[in-house]
C-alpha cells in the first residue's frame, strides 16, 4: 500500500474525536467561559450603500451594563479602522465613511452580558445618507454606476481585476476548424457555506504580560495570528490563537472578520476577556459567501464528438471588498482548471472581477479555490454539446476523457495532472448505476409523458496547495510544518499546522504516524489548532490537509524512524546500513523477528547507551513539507431525478458516486467527506442561493430563507471507488475534503436538464426550485441573483 509504512494502521476505525462529541463534551468557541468575560454585539448597516453622516453612541454608553462601544472613529485613531484582506485589498473593520453592503459592521457594543449588549445596539443612533446600490454585477461596470470603493486612491469605477489563462489565439484557430460550437450563459449563484456553528471569538488580552490569547473559529490559526500581529502591533510571539473544536468550516472560517478584531480591541480597552458569537443572520449576511460567477462558455467539437476547445468569459462578483481567500497570484483561484477531465487542444478563459454592494468573499464552501465553478462550467458545456450532437453524454465523455497513458498530463491552461485512470472510473460508475437500464426506463417514461432525468458529471479536482514557489496566502508560501516527538515509552505526539473542522484529523493523522512507526493508532496523539503548540502553516482549506500536512506528518515520522535506525544499530551493534524495517521493528537484514520495536528504541534513546554520531538522544523531528505539485483527485457522478412538470418539483431518486482520491487512509472518514459534498450538490443545485433586491437587501439572511437540504431531500448515497495513487505524495493520498462538493452540483443540474429535454429546455440556472423549473419549461427562466419579480 505504501512505499515504506506497511499500511497496517490504515483502514476504517473509530474516530478519536467521537468520544467527546457523542457526550456533548466537544469544546466549541461558545463553550469557552472566562472569569470576568464580557460580551460583544455588532451593529450592522441596514442599507447596502450609504454615507455615514453620524454615529451617536451616547445612549448605549449610558446603559448601566455596557462597558464600552467601539466605533469606526475610535478604530481610526488606532489605525485599525481598515484591515488588509487576503487579496491585498482593504476591508473596513467598522465603517467610517460609507457602508457598502447590508450587514456591514458599524459599531461594537461590549457589555456585561449578551442581553445588555444586544439591547444597547438599539440605543445607537446612526444617520445614513442613502446612495444608489450596485446590485446587478452586469451593471457594475456601467459608466454611470456609483463608485463603491471611493476609499481606494485612484479607483474610478467598480473594476477589480482582469485575469486570463490559456491561449486565445489557438482557441480561435480550433474554433474555426470545428464542426459545431455551442455556447451558453450560466450563473453559479452566490451561496454560503453556512457551517452549523457560526463564527465567534473569545479574546483575552493580559495587560500585565502583554499577551493576547484568542479562542476562535479559525481554519487557519497561524495566519490569523500573523494578521492580528500586523493589525494590533502586538508582537507575534505574544499572540496565541486557539481553535478548539470547530463546528464546520467549509471555507467560511478561513479569513479574519471585523467581529474578531473588535473583540480583540475591546479586550485591549476593557482589560477583560470579550466574547463575540455571530448570530445566524450575521453569518449569512456578512461572512465569506461563495461563487457568484456569471459565466459564458463556448465549446467547439467535431461532429464525431471530439472536443477541440473551450472558451470561457467570466464576470466575478466579489462584493464590496475583495476579500477572496485564495493564493494571491490567482485572483480567480484555480478556475484555470476549467478544461476539466478532457483532452482538448486549446482553451482560454478571461475573468473580470467587480465590486458590488454585497458582502465580501467568494472563495469558500468547499470550492477548492473555484474548481467548483470550473467543473460546473465544463460539465454543463459537455452536456450541452451532447445534446447538440444528439450523443449520449456518457459516450461523449468517454470519447474525450484524458487517457491513463497520458499522465502526467499537461492541460491546455498549464496544469500538470499527476495521475488518473478516468475511463475506469466512468465505466465503474455506469456499471454501478445500471446506466443502460436507466436510459431504457427513461425512454419508457418519456413515452408516457413522465419526466425522468439522468445526469452525469466527471470532475478533476486540484488540491493540496502549494508548492510555495507558486502559491502563497497573503505572502505565506503554502507549505506546512509538522513536529513529532516520541516519548520514552514509545508513544508519540504529532503537532500539525492544519486544523480540523470535523474532518477527523486526530484520527487520520495518528494513523499516518502509526503506520510509519509501527505503533498503535491510540499511541499517537495529534495536536492542532493552537499556535503556541504547533508549527507554522497556512491551515485547512482547499482539501489540503492530507495532501500537505499529511505528507508533512509522514515525512517527519520517517525522519524519526531514521533516527531510530541509528539508535537500533547502536543497540544491535550493527551497521545502520545493514538494518531493515519491517513489522514495526528495525532488525538486521536476514534476522526477521529479532531487532527492536520503536518503544524499545525510544527507551534506549533516553537511556545510557552510547549514541552514534548524528543522534542527539531522544526521538524527535520536525519538518516543513513543500509539495512539489498539486494533487488531482477525480471522480464520476451520476444523478437520477424525477420532475413533476406541473409543479416543477424535483425529486432526487438516486445518486451514485465513484471517487478516486488516491490511497485512502481512513475509508470511513473518506466516505463521510464524500457524503457531505454530495448533499452540498443537492443543496446548491436545488435550493441554496442568495439573491438581492433592487436596493441591495439580502434575501437569504436566515435558515428560513437560505435553505439547506434535510435528510428528506438526500437519497441514500451509493459510493464506489477506484484508487490511483498520487505519484508525489509520500503515501499516495490526494485529499478528499471538497471533491464531492466540486463534482456533484453539475450532476444534479445535468439530470434535471436531461429530464426537461422533452420540454425543449436547454439550460436553467441553479437553484432549480419548483418555480425555476416551471419557468424554464415555460421558456422564461428566472434570474437567481436578483429578487423574483
Amino acid at each position: 500500500m505504501t512505499a515504506d509504512g506497511n499500511g497496517s494502521a490504515f483502514g476504517s476505525r473509530i474516530r478519536k474525536e467521537d468520544a467527546r462529541f457523542v457526550r456533548g463534551l466537544g469544546k466549541f468557541v461558545d463553550d469557552v467561559v472566562l472569569p470576568g468575560m464580557l460580551h460583544g454585539a455588532m451593529l450592522r448597516s441596514p442599507m447596502a450603500h450609504a454615507r455615514i453622516v453620524s454615529v451617536d453612541v451616547s445612549a448605549a454608553l449610558a446603559h448601566p451594563r455596557v462597558k464600552t462601544v467601539i466605533t469606526g472613529e475610535m478604530l481610526a485613531e488606532r489605525g485599525m479602522a481598515w484591515m488588509p484582506t487576503l487579496s491585498y485589498d482593504q476591508q473596513a473593520v467598522l465603517a467610517t465613511d460609507k457602508v457598502r453592503f447590508q450587514g456591514q459592521e458599524v459599531a461594537f457594543v461590549v457589555a456585561e452580558d449578551r442581553y445588555a449588549a444586544r439591547d444597547a445596539l438599539e440605543l445607537i443612533d446612526v444617520e445614513y445618507e442613502p446612495l444608489p446600490a450596485v446590485v446587478d454585477a452586469h451593471q457594475a461596470l456601467a459608466p454611470d454606476a456609483p463608485v463603491i470603493r471611493d476609499d481606494r486612491p485612484g479607483q474610478q469605477d467598480n473594476h477589480i481585476f482582469d485575469w486570463e489563462s490559456g491561449d486565445a489565439q489557438r482557441v480561435a484557430e480550433v474554433f474555426a476548424e470545428a464542426d459545431v460550437v455551442v455556447e451558453q450563459d450560466m450563473l453559479y449563484p452566490r451561496v454560503h457555506p453556512a457551517p452549523l456553528e457560526t463564527c465567534g471569538i473569545v479574546a483575552d488580552m493580559d495587560p500585565v504580560s502583554g499577551r493576547l490569547t484568542v479562542w476562535s473559529t479559525a481554519q487557519a490559526p497561524h495566519a490569523h495570528r500573523s494578521l492580528y500581529a500586523q493589525l494590533t502591533g502586538i508582537p507575534e510571539h505574544r499572540i496565541r490563537v486557539i481553535a478548539n473544536d470547530i463546528g464546520g468550516g467549509f471555507g467560511n472560517k478561513v479569513g479574519v472578520y471585523p467581529g474578531y478584531v473588535c473583540a480583540i480591541v475591546a479586550s485591549m480597552i476593557t482589560q477583560q476577556p470579550v466574547k463575540w458569537i455571530e448570530d445566524r443572520a450575521e453569518n449569512l449576511m456578512s461572512t465569506a459567501f461563495a461563487r457568484d460567477y456569471h459565466m459564458r462558455g463556448e465549446i467547439a467539437a467535431r461532429s464525431d464528438g471530439t472536443i477541440l476547445g473551450l472558451r470561457v468569459r467570466v464576470l466575478a462578483d466579489h462584493g464590496a471588498f475583495n476579500a477572496t481567500a485564495q493564493p494571491s497570484r490567482y485572483p480567480a483561484g484555480f478556475f484555470g482548471v476549467f478544461t476539466g477531465s478532457y483532452d482538448l487542444q486549446a482553451a482560454h478563459c478571461s475573468v473580470t472581477g467587480v465590486y458590488t454592494n454585497k458582502a465580501p468573499g467568494g472563495v469558500a464552501y468547499s470550492c477548492s479555490f473555484r474548481v467548483t465553478e470550473a467543473v460546473y462550467l465544463v460539465e454543463r458545456m459537455v452536456d450541452l454539446l451532447a445534446c447538440e450532437l444528439d450523443m449520449d453524454p456518457a459516450e461523449l465523455r468517454m470519447r474525450n476523457l484524458i487517457r491513463p497513458e497520458q499522465f502526467p498530463y499537461d492541460t491546455a491552461t498549464g496544469w500538470r495532472y499527476d495521475s488518473g485512470d478516468y475511463p475506469r472510473a466512468l465505466a465503474k460508475l455506469l456499471d454501478m448505476a445500471g446506466y443502460h437500464d436507466l436510459r431504457a426506463e427513461q425512454a419508457a417514461k418519456r413515452e408516457r409523458g413522465e419526466l425522468m432525468g439522468i445526469g452525469l458529471s466527471f470532475f478533476t479536482e486540484a488540491v493540496g496547495a502549494g508548492p510555495r514557489k507558486h502559491l502563497d496566502m497573503y505572502g505565506f508560501g503554502m507549505a506546512d510544518g509538522a513536529e513529532l516527538r516520541v516519548h520514552p515509552s514509545g508513544t508519540a505526539v504529532l503537532r500539525v499546522s492544519c486544523m480540523s473542522q470535523g474532518q477527523g484529523h486526530e484520527t487520520t493523522f495518528a494513523q499516518l504516524v502509526a503506520n510509519e512507526l509501527g505503533i498503535g493508532v491510540d499511541e499517537v496523539d495529534v495536536v492542532q489548532g493552537d499556535t503556541d503548540h504547533t508549527p507554522f502553516g497556512v491551515g485547512t482549506y482547499g482539501s489540503r490537509s492530507i495532501a500537505v500536512s499529511g505528507a508533512a506528518a509522514v515525512t517527519v515520522a520517517r525522519k524519526v524512524r531514521e533516527q531510530a535506525r541509528l539508535i537500533a544499530a547502536a543497540m544491535l551493534e550493527a551497521d545502520p546500513e545493514d538494518l531493515e524495517w519491517g513489522d514495526g521493528r528495525w532488525y538486521v537484514r536476514g534476522v526477521e523477528g529479532a531487532g527492536h520495536t520503536l518503544a524499545e528504541i525510544a527507551r534506549a534513546a533516553h537511556a545510557d547507551i552510547d549514541l552514534p554520531d548524528g543522534v542527539d538522544g531522544q526521538l524527535a523531528a520536525s519538518t516543513v513539507y513543500n509539495p512539489p505539485n498539486l494533487t488531482f483527485p477525480f471522480g464520476a457522478y451520476l444523478c437520477v431525478v424525477d420532475v413533476d412538470p406541473d409543479t416543477g418539483q424535483v425529486t432526487v431518486r438516486r445518486f451514485v458516486a465513484v471517487d478516486d482520491c488516491g490511497v485512502r487512509i481512513n475509508p470511513m472518514i473518506v466516505d463521510g467527506q464524500i457524503h457531505r459534498g454530495l448533499a452540498d450538490g443537492i443543496g446548491m443545485a436545488l435550493m441554496e442561493h442568495i439573491a438581492f433586491d433592487a436596493d441591495g437587501n439580502h434575501l437569504g439572511g436566515s435558515f428560513m430563507d437560505y435553505l439547506l437540504p434535510t435528510a428528506l431531500e438526500c437519497p441514500s448515497w451509493e459510493l464506489g471507488e477506484t484508487v490511483t495513487p498520487s505519484p508525489h505524495h509520500p503515501v499516495g493520498a490526494k485529499g478528499i475534503g471538497e471533491a464531492a462538493t466540486v463534482g456533484s452540483p453539475a450532476a444534479v443540474v445535468n439530470a434535471v436538464m436531461d429530464a426537461l429535454r422533452p420540454c425543449g429546455v436547454r439550460h436553467a440556472d441553479m437553484p432549480l426550485t419548483p418555480a425555476a423549473v416551471w419557468r424554464a419549461i415555460q421558456g422564461r427562466a428566472l434570474r437567481s441573483d436578483l429578487a423574483i419579480r
Binding site: 409543479t647 434575501l699 435553505l707 437540504p709 434535510t710 431531500e713 418555480a771 423574483i788
Partner: protein, 290 residues
Amino acid sequence: MQVPAQFEYERATSVAHAVDLLVKYNGAGRVIAGGHSLIPMMKLRLARPEVLIDINEVGELAGIVRDGDELRIGALVRHNELLDSAEAAQLFPILVDAERVIADPIVRNRGTVGGSLCQADPSEDLSAAFSALRADAVIQGPQIRRTVPIRDFFVGPYETVVGPDELLVELRVPVRPGSGSAFVKVSRRAGDWAVGAVGAAVWLAGDVITEIGIGLSALGAQNFVAVEAEDFLRGRVVSAEAFAEAGRIAAEHCDPPVDQRGPADYKRHLAATLVARSLTLASHRAGREV
C-alpha cells in the same frame, strides 16, 4: 445568537385566568403557546410584546374529542397530537395531510393548532385546511364565549377577529356523511412554508357534490378560500374536467404574492394544479374516482 427584548411573563392556569390576564394588561399582553412563530420574531426583535401570557398549562385547551356531529380540537393541541389522532385521520384526512408537512417533527411537538391559526400567516397550511372543512372557531372573551366561522376568522395577514382580551379556545369541525378531504402542498424543501398549498373537502351524494370547501394557502386567496371555484362545483357531478375548471377559476381569483418562493404566474398555475389535485384526492377518499 439572538435574544428577545425584555418582557414580563405570566403563566395562565385556566381559560378564565388567561382572559383575566389579558384584561389586566389591557392590550399589552400577548398569548403564547408553542411560541414557534412568536419567539423567533421576538429574537429578531420584529415582535416586542410587553407581557407574555403563557397558556401551555391550561388543560381546558387541550384534547381532541368527538362531540356528536362535531370534532372538537382544542387550541392547545400540538401539531403532532393532531397528526397522530386516529379520529382526525379517519374523519378528516386533510388534517393529517397538512400536519405531515407543517414545519418538522420537533417543531410539531411544541407548536399548536390554535397558535398557528391565531398567527394568521398568509402561508399557514392549517388556515387553508380548516377553511376547507368549514370549521368554527370558539373564542372566549371576558363576558362571552362566541363562535365564529373560520372563514370569518381571518381579517388580513397576521390579523384575526380575536380581540385583545379574547382567547381562541377550540376548533369545531362538522362531521357529515359522504365526505372526503385532502391537502396538497408544494414547498421548496421539507419543512419550508408553502410555495402554494391547497386543501379540499367534498361532501358527495352519489356523484353529486352537495357541499365543497377549497382552502388555499400562500396563494393570495381572500380569507384562504376559493369561493368562486366552490360555487362552480356545488351541485355538479365530480369529474376531472370540473376539477380542472375549478382550478382555473381559483387561479383566476387569487392574487399570489411575489416573493423568493416564486413569481405570480407560477403560483397562479400552482393554484390551478393543486386545486385539481386536491379535489381529485378528496373525491377518491369520498369513494368517487375521476
